[in-house]
Symmetry: C3
Subunit: 331 residues, 3 copies
């Protein structure tokens, strides 16, 4: 499933075609760009934050875009390409491999759904399908929905009205309610004074079996990585899931929760309404996050947190008035 | 209006067909499942939280699903059916009566709007209507809107583009702006390790006269109860109203406010942007809730609250710095 | 661009036709209604809050709706029309000039897009266009999008699926992702017990070059003023921008941020996810607002703020525990 691609890869390129600073007699070809943990010996990867130190130490990538400070952590099998701005260089090279992934061009291959091509799928009215979609039997697709090219949808799914799906692989028995926008490009770009450089989003959205997404949710596809929603996880209305977020299995995400990019959420996590999860965090298994909380730090397994910024529940309750009074009285 | 049904009731069933633990020589038939306050002598109800004690004491239901601790509060006319997990058993029995209410299957009866059937309604392009809709004169329905079967819309309404409406009864002079999703199933289910059990939502959305809903709001229908928005109440963009919420008359709800399930909001309530209201609360009349507040407790009439969690305004202001300083200086 | 109008102006009217309290032998005609800073000698303006004192002192308007307390600040060239409720009277007179701007009637002029009229525009399927739209070359418009009458869209834009645009002027190279609702009436009305009076929204939305709006954003048009998003500003998913808000250039607005009405945001401002900005504020240039913050006061240039309510970052950090401890230890 990880190898299924929605964007054309213009590679391979010789490494010296990509980075002129690499002087290599051998013509080493780079086939793809992947994250530290996904890359293999024919890939380029990138390492720009200590958050990913563990993955960096074990990466199998041949080359790695990184900076002066971080290069020492890479294994000897991986050749560092040291640059000032890792994301800027990554953006440039990713555009070379995938020139069409930085803007969500409307799918030119869309056509009205054709019952003869999908005899076991139930289509509403005005459903539009891109070429090479795969849709499982007994799936129902509501009116005015748009399923873009190559999207995979499993069996027994319900796709609501006015839903749009792009660059996504969706399991069986999934329910996606009206108005959800799945698989669009995330909020990634290199700020520039006159005209920001849009970061290519070559990843996808992967949604597990038995997932339910309520109305008007937005699930962005991954940039280099994928965005994943695990089996049997339910999202309420108007939830926002940014690029590269991975939500585990059996989670309950209440209305209007927002996930910033690249955070990893464990299994059996429940999150109250309107809570926000900052980017690049690791939230453990069986974590409970109170409604309206703002999570800005990693949370270990089996913890209940609340507040803005979110702290363990006991601390939150102490902080509220009682805590101050206690401090004063102890003096 | 309360008796108008959107889902087929497969009942009545003999009580002993539903609950094998009930041994009754008489063949008592149960006709429907209703809340404590709505049920009458031919209905089954449920009681699982002291929040509903007042209604429990006065219920007219013949049978009531409840637990060991709560059964003592029921009137003698009501036969308790004691179970471990009230909502789980309620879910099972509700599915028996209403097998189609736990998933929002696309409406198979949708057809392009037909001016000859509704000569006094103005339709945009590509409007889809389900069977047996009722739409009042002088109502305008924007392009790409979907009005599912049996929906009732009053006179002089404006329904925007890309709106979907299901299981709803809408008054006169109502404005619903583009992208609203009205009447979908709420966020209710019985968590299970492999595959959550979806709770049937047999209720509806009832919207009073002169209501205005701004763009991209989501209003879920009730589970056993209804979701209600009272006369002349205005909601701004991206408001989320969960199942069973009742908002009173003449309220002003600013953008991105979220209501968790089953809360009851009084009349003349104003709520600032992005505030969140937890579930099962009672908010009085003439209450003002500051923007960004998180309301986790009932609020009496005529109160202004603010903060996270929300407290009366005076307390909120005290808590901010000044309050601590005062405490220290008093020592 | 400011003079391009989306609503028909029924004026001019003699000032004595509008306000019977004005006894004027001369027949002074009022041509339009504008804000203090935009009005010229043939216009009526309004002044109801000291927030706009600076503009009031310099207004070129002939007449100004105001109250007893504020009238003294107007220049002698401007005749005050003193009323009890400025917004109520403004609403009435604006409806006289613009009777169709208080409700978003579906555009009756919509027709399926016609490639022969726009040979250089790429249309998806089921795109609907109102009369007199202007769309620049090389722009692509996704399926099921609705562009209402007189909307102007520049060159090289991408308009996503299920987007609706009304009363808007959009620059070049703009990307608007799926599900955005642009240019609808804002949340403005005069509360009344039985039936609120809807405030006419005669303004528009102006979006600068190179702007990107992610999925399901809602951008309301201005009431008397315009709503503006400056060049090269990017908004993430589900952002809510209320009427009259002006966002500067090169800003980064993360997911689910909400702006209440009439606030002015500088250039190079970055705002973290789920932050809320209250109404009628001035946020300076180069301001950074932390995720989840609630901004309730003006913020000077080059400031980083965080918290609810938002305070400068240093103060926020101090307030969290450390601050209280320090205070106590100093005693």
């Amino acid at each position: 499933m990880n190898e299924y691609k929605f964007f054309d890869n213009k590679g391979p390129f010789n490494i010296s075609e990509i980075f002129f600073q690499i002087k290599s007699n051998e013509k080493i070809k780079i086939f793809d760009i992947k994250t530290l943990d996904q890359a293999n010996q024919s890939d380029l990867t990138f390492f720009d934050s200590l958050v990913y130190l563990k993955d960096a130490k074990k990466t199998k990538a041949k080359f790695c875009l990184t900076n002066e400070k971080l290069k020492k952590y890479l294994p000897s099998s991986c050749i560092p390409i040291v640059v000032k701005n890792v994301l800027y260089e990554l953006c440039k090279v990713t555009k070379k491999f995938y020139p069409d992934a930085d803007v969500d061009f409307p799918d030119q291959s869309l056509k009205p759904s054709n019952k003869t091509l999908f005899p076991k799928v139930n289509f509403g009215l005005n459903v539009l399908l891109g070429k090479d979609c795969l849709i499982g039997e007994n799936t129902e697709i509501g009116s005015n929905a748009i399923i873009e090219k190559k999207v995979v949808i499993g069996k027994n799914c319900i796709i609501g009205s006015n839903v749009t799906i792009k660059s996504s692989i969706i399991g069986n028995n999934v329910v996606i309610q009206n108005g959800c926008k799945i698989g669009l490009k995330g909020f990634g770009f290199i700020p520039q004074k006159e005209n920001n450089i849009k970061f290519p989003h070559i990843g996808k959205v992967i949604i597990g079996d038995n997932v339910e997404l309520a109305a008007n949710c937005t699930i962005d596809r991954g940039s280099i990585d994928n965005t994943i929603i695990g089996k049997n996880t339910y999202l309420d209305n108007q939830v926002h899931v940014a690029h590269n977020v991975k939500i585990g299995e059996n989670c309950m995400i209440a209305g209007q929760v927002g996930f910033a990019g690249s955070s990893i959420i464990g299994n059996n996590v429940s999150i109250g309404g309107q809570a926000g999860i900052s980017g690049h965090l690791r939230i453990g298994n069986n974590v409970r996050i109170g409604g309206g909380s703002g999570v800005v730090k990693d949370i270990p397994d089996n913890t209940t947190v609340m507040g803005y910024p979110a702290v363990p529940l006991k601390e939150f309750l102490k902080n509220k008035r009682v805590w101050v009074i206690q401090l004063i009285e102890k003096k």
